[in-house]
């Protein structure tokens, strides 16, 4: 335990850890010191001068080193002649702090008046009005009236776009630099900075495209005034009009805790709609941050393309049908299929949905297939990170290995937390065939060729500088992804990683183990429940009776479309009328996760609850309920009325979920820093977590069971051949997936379908950066834009997943120069 220090703040004795700042110490004692620039997650800078307090320290006799006592025997306290900032002074023994003395109050009031000298006071039209630190603190500590006339104030530009997502109001800015410091210190994307000096000081974006960071939305949360606002919420509503519903982000396996702010809207025909997405504090998952994908890509749930009614194919056409007719048709076909029944579900679904689907498949005697081309989820169940794992606690003594994954693009909040762990002293090893952003913070970079993943991991356990950093580490975590890998390759990689951790005894403890950087939010949950991906999916679907849930195989890959069109019967359960739905015999309208209850299992194997935020669209039903209704038509009883009961049944059925229930998942505990209460000036407008921190699942190793790990399967790695290009898949944050593409605001970030080439390969083909080319994959031609990157190997062409290009695993590709047209 660190040394404790006792000090007195406003006559109250406070005991806190040595080194804590006066402002934080006051906060722990429930005393508010007004502040703008200080944020508990960042280094103090003392720029706004708002937190001025009187600080006295005991007088020390230099000769004896002891405190000088007054007549009563108490230590004499010497106050500084001027006020000091509470945010830059660490506490010391015997310190006396006065936050409410006349002198301190006068100082705080004068400073507020000074900050307001160039503030436009346009609170009525400001998006921050109502949750603004400057408003709150002016009411609490400031003068009641302004002595400065509006016309005499400094007037600067309003509504300046820093990028297409964030707007800057230069007049409102009080130059606290929270946003600049966040981008620099926390996000590691120093893309905004101050320009000019004095009264003309203003924030500018230094990047192209503007504000090029996936964390940009967080700056609007911590901005203490309305200087930074999002384009998404511009004039959307006043903060006090919004209702808050707790949720979990469904975009990636991190499982960030969210709050959906909702409001009834005349523009949306009087229904309740989501107005904005805010982070919800969970210090073990996302702290107080979320990425821009999670913040802005929610619009798919309100898309016009949503299905409000079920459909049945009649005379070759899909026609509207009642629930009874649709589920009966599906149920009959499933019951007849028996062994030929295949459930194809994706990690977009909740644990409850997946459990009911698995139960149905088991009852019929069919197969439960996970729609994914990444393997290894069975291994994370064996040697996954132990319960209590928290990136926020990792530092010296911990080694983090990031294998075949670009965390910045695949799981931005993990990127942020791994980066911070590295800055606290954790050893970071980044292994990837091309340069990734995380490398800037790594101790070791391993650059291997595509196909050498398994060997690279096996080398980690060998002697040497990098090997020692891994094997001799007190704690070690491996995050493995699927960069350049298909199902076979990623399974082999996961096995190699699991073995490496097991051999070095980095399993079964907190902050040790394996994490999969999955492609969908609940892939881990699907693995735990018993779903497994299929190596040759097309073959597995041909001639079968297929129940496709939350996936669009036909839209992703023409080969799968072909397989499905020759299937015996296809039932599709989705939010949209997807390409797969167009091939279906029955289409069942599912609810979006914002309309219902459920749980997701994150990549760190944390089970977390999400709650309904908006009313369900049309006649749509939750996935688990539809499955239950279909089952009922077949004479199989599955719970379908309550998500929490489905969860209880699952907890009784699957040992790893044993002992869990909705009440336990909703438990909370005190978190530091304190955010989201009445004091938004302190931690920003992030929401406090009152709805549950979730529970991390135990794994075989932590239960003391001996894990028998499979041997690493020999995979014939595909290598680039002479004069041929090898296409390898990689993951991009803003892709054309069904849950992203309908957000118009992100159009520019999503961009066109593209491939990445090494300059020499591009030269050989006679293609320049930005030109169009024809890509041939598995005999399918697609038009793409060519980007150039000199950090990738020469013989490969990088093809992004979910951008309309059918890539599941590495394979040969053809590329031909197309028409000359400059595209960005």
């Amino acid at each position: 335990m660190t040394k404790q220090v006792t000090l007195t703040i406003d006559g109250k004795q406070v005991t806190v850890a040595d080194g804590m700042l006066v402002i934080d110490a006051a906060k722990t004692a429930g005393i508010d010191i007004p502040v703008f620039c200080y944020h508990p997650k960042m280094e103090p800078v003392g720029m706004c001068r708002q937190c001025m307090v009187e600080i006295g320290r005991p007088m020390i006799d230099r000769a004896t080193g002891k405190a000088i006592l007054d007549d009563k025997g108490d230590p004499k306290v010497q106050f500084m002649p001027k006020l000091e900032t509470a945010c830059t002074n660490p506490v010391s023994e015997g310190m006396v702090v006065l936050t409410q003395s006349d002198k301190a109050k006068a100082g705080q009031k004068a400073n507020l008046e000074f900050l307001l000298t160039s503030h436009p006071l346009d609170c009525p039209i400001c998006d921050k009005g109502g949750e603004c630190a400057l408003q709150d603190l002016t009411i609490a500590h400031g003068p009641g009236q302004s002595r400065y006339l509006y016309d005499e104030k400094m007037h600067l530009a309003k509504n300046v776009p820093l990028g297409e997502l964030i707007f800057l109001d230069q007049e409102r800015c009080i130059q606290c630099a929270r946003c600049i410091r966040f981008q620099d210190e926390i996000a590691g994307d120093a893309v905004i900075d101050f320009d000019e000096r004095g009264r003309s000081t203003q924030i500018v974006s230094l990047s192209d495209p503007g504000f090029d960071s996936v964390f940009s939305g967080n700056t609007t949360d911590i901005c203490p005034v309305g200087a930074l606002t999002t384009a998404d919420f511009r004039f959307g509503a006043r903060p006090w009009e919004l209702n808050a519903s707790a949720s979990i982000c469904s975009q990636c396996p991190v499982g960030c805790n969210l709050t959906f702010n909702t409001r009834r809207e005349a523009m949306a025909d009087g229904t309740i709609v989501i107005k904005r997405v805010m982070p919800r504090q969970n210090e073990e998952v996302n702290e107080t941050w979320i990425c821009d994908k999670g913040r802005f890509a929610y619009h798919y749930v309100e898309s016009d393309a949503r299905l409000g009614k079920s459909l049945i194919r009649k005379d070759g056409r899909l026609a509207r049908a009642s629930w009874d007719a649709a589920t009966r048709a599906a149920g009959q076909a499933f019951a007849e299929a028996k062994k030929n029944f295949v459930v194809l579900a994706s990690g977009r679904l909740s644990n409850e949905d997946l459990f009911n689907l698995k139960s149905l498949a088991d009852q019929v005697g069919g197969k439960a297939v996970l729609y994914s081309n990444m393997g290894g989820g069975d291994l994370t169940a064996l040697v996954g990170v132990g319960a209590g794992t928290n990136f926020g606690e990792m530092g010296k003594g911990t080694t983090i290995v990031v294998m075949a994954s670009d965390l910045y693009e695949e799981a931005p909040i993990w990127y942020l937390r791994v980066k911070q762990a590295a800055e606290r002293g954790a050893t970071l090893i980044v292994a990837n065939p091309r340069e990734t952003k995380l490398e800037r913070y790594s101790d070791f970079v391993i650059r291997y060729s595509y196909g050498d993943e398994v060997k690279t991991v096996q080398d980690l356990t060998k002697k040497g500088k990098v090997g020692d950093a891994f094997t001799k580490a007190e704690n070690a975590v491996i995050l493995f992804g699927s960069e350049g890998l298909g199902l076979e390759g990623s399974t082999a990689l996961a096995t190699a990683c699991a073995r490496a951790l097991n051999d070095t005894e980095h399993v079964g403890k907190p902050n040790n183990g394996l994490i999969g950087v999955w492609q969908r939010a609940n892939d881990q949950g699907a693995w735990e429940i018993g779903f497994r991906p299929e190596e040759n999916l097309a073959a597995a679907l041909k001639g079968k009776t297929v129940y496709v849930v939350g996936a669009d195989p036909a839209g992703d890959d023409p080969a799968l479309a072909k397989a499905l069109s020759s299937a015996e019967f296809v039932a599709v359960q989705d939010l949209f009328e997807t390409e797969t739905a167009k091939l279906a015999d029955v289409v069942l309208a599912a609810q979006a996760y914002t309309e219902r209850e459920g749980t997701f299992t994150s990549g760190e194997r944390r089970v977390q609850r999400f709650y309904p935020a908006v009313p369900a669209l049309g006649e749509s039903k939750p996935d688990y309920a539809i499955t239950s209704q279909v089952a009922r038509q077949m004479g199989v009883i599955l719970e379908g009325t309550s998500a929490s009961v489905v969860f209880d049944i699952m907890a009784a059925d699957i040992p790893v979920f044993a002992g869990l229930n909705y009440a336990r998942l909703a438990e909370v505990k005190e978190q530091w820093p304190i955010v989201g209460r009445g004091d938004m000036y302190y931690g920003g407008s992030t929401y406090e977590n009152k709805q549950g921190l979730g529970v991390q699942l135990s794994n075989a190793a932590s239960r003391g069971e001996k894990a028998t790990l499979p041997r690493v399967q020999k995979v014939a790695a595909v290598r680039p051949k002479e004069n041929k290009l090898l296409a390898v898949p990689f993951t991009k944050l803003y892709d054309r997936g069904a849950t992203v593409a309908s957000t118009e605001l992100l159009d520019q970030r999503i961009g066109q379908a593209f491939v990445v080439l090494h300059p020499s390969a591009a030269k050989n083909l006679g293609i320049e950066a930005g030109e169009r080319a024809k890509l041939t994959l598995d005999g399918i031609n697609e038009e793409v834009v060519v980007k150039i990157d000199d950090t990738i190997p020469a013989g490969v062409v990088l093809v992004p997943r979910s951008m309309g290009l059918p890539i599941n695993e590495p394979g040969e590709a053809g590329l031909k120069a197309g028409k000359k047209a400059a595209v960005r």
């Binding site: 346009d122 009525p124 511009r234």
Partner: protein, 167 residues
């Protein structure tokens, strides 16, 4: 007894020659008092631009939750009000309104004023919801209707200088 009867009739006959206090509504209408609070009017500036900036403070102040506002962004091409923001939806439910005038007090631009119209009766609940078009003051000429096309940089200030009556 006759005496009492005569006294009573006397009062009746006397009042026959007095000026009546009642008026023949609706043929005849009485002028309202200066501080009367009737149906709301959304005011305009002299150039026709709406005073309302869609800040929703009236809705926040309303004790009976009768006001509903949605805002959108102004452009110089299509300007409804000065500054960046205007009310794209503005509705008052007259059945809910208690005519307390808090909305007037809350308004930072003096856009909403309780007028002198008290003739509010409806045959349908939906008719009691007055949309913005019904609440806005009428304009003198077609050039004053909103939206207007304005010069860039001309109307940048949302909240005007407010004059205190005590000054």
């Amino acid at each position: 007894m006759l005496r009492e009867l005569a006294r009573g009739l006397g009062t009746t006959f006397k009042s026959m020659f007095e000026r009546p206090v009642t008026v023949q509504y609706p043929e005849e209408k009485r002028e309202v008092r200066p501080r009367f609070r009737g149906r709301h009017v959304l005011k305009r500036y002299d150039n026709g631009l709406e005073k309302c900036i869609g800040c929703s403070l009236c809705a926040a102040a309303c004790p009976s939750d009768a006001i509903f506002v949605e805002a959108s962004a102004n452009t110089d091409e299509k300007r409804f009000s000065p500054g960046e923001r205007y009310a794209s939806t503005y509705e008052i439910n007259m059945l809910r309104c208690i005519y307390c005038g808090f909305c007037e007090d809350a308004c930072p631009t003096e856009a909403i004023v309780l007028g002198d119209n008290y003739e509010l009766s409806f045959t349908d609940r939906r008719d009691a919801i007055y949309p913005k078009e019904m609440l806005l003051e009428s304009v003198a000429s077609a050039a004053q209707t909103t939206p207007q096309k304005t010069n860039a940089g001309e109307f940048t200030r949302s909240v005007p200088e407010m004059k205190d009556s005590t000054d």
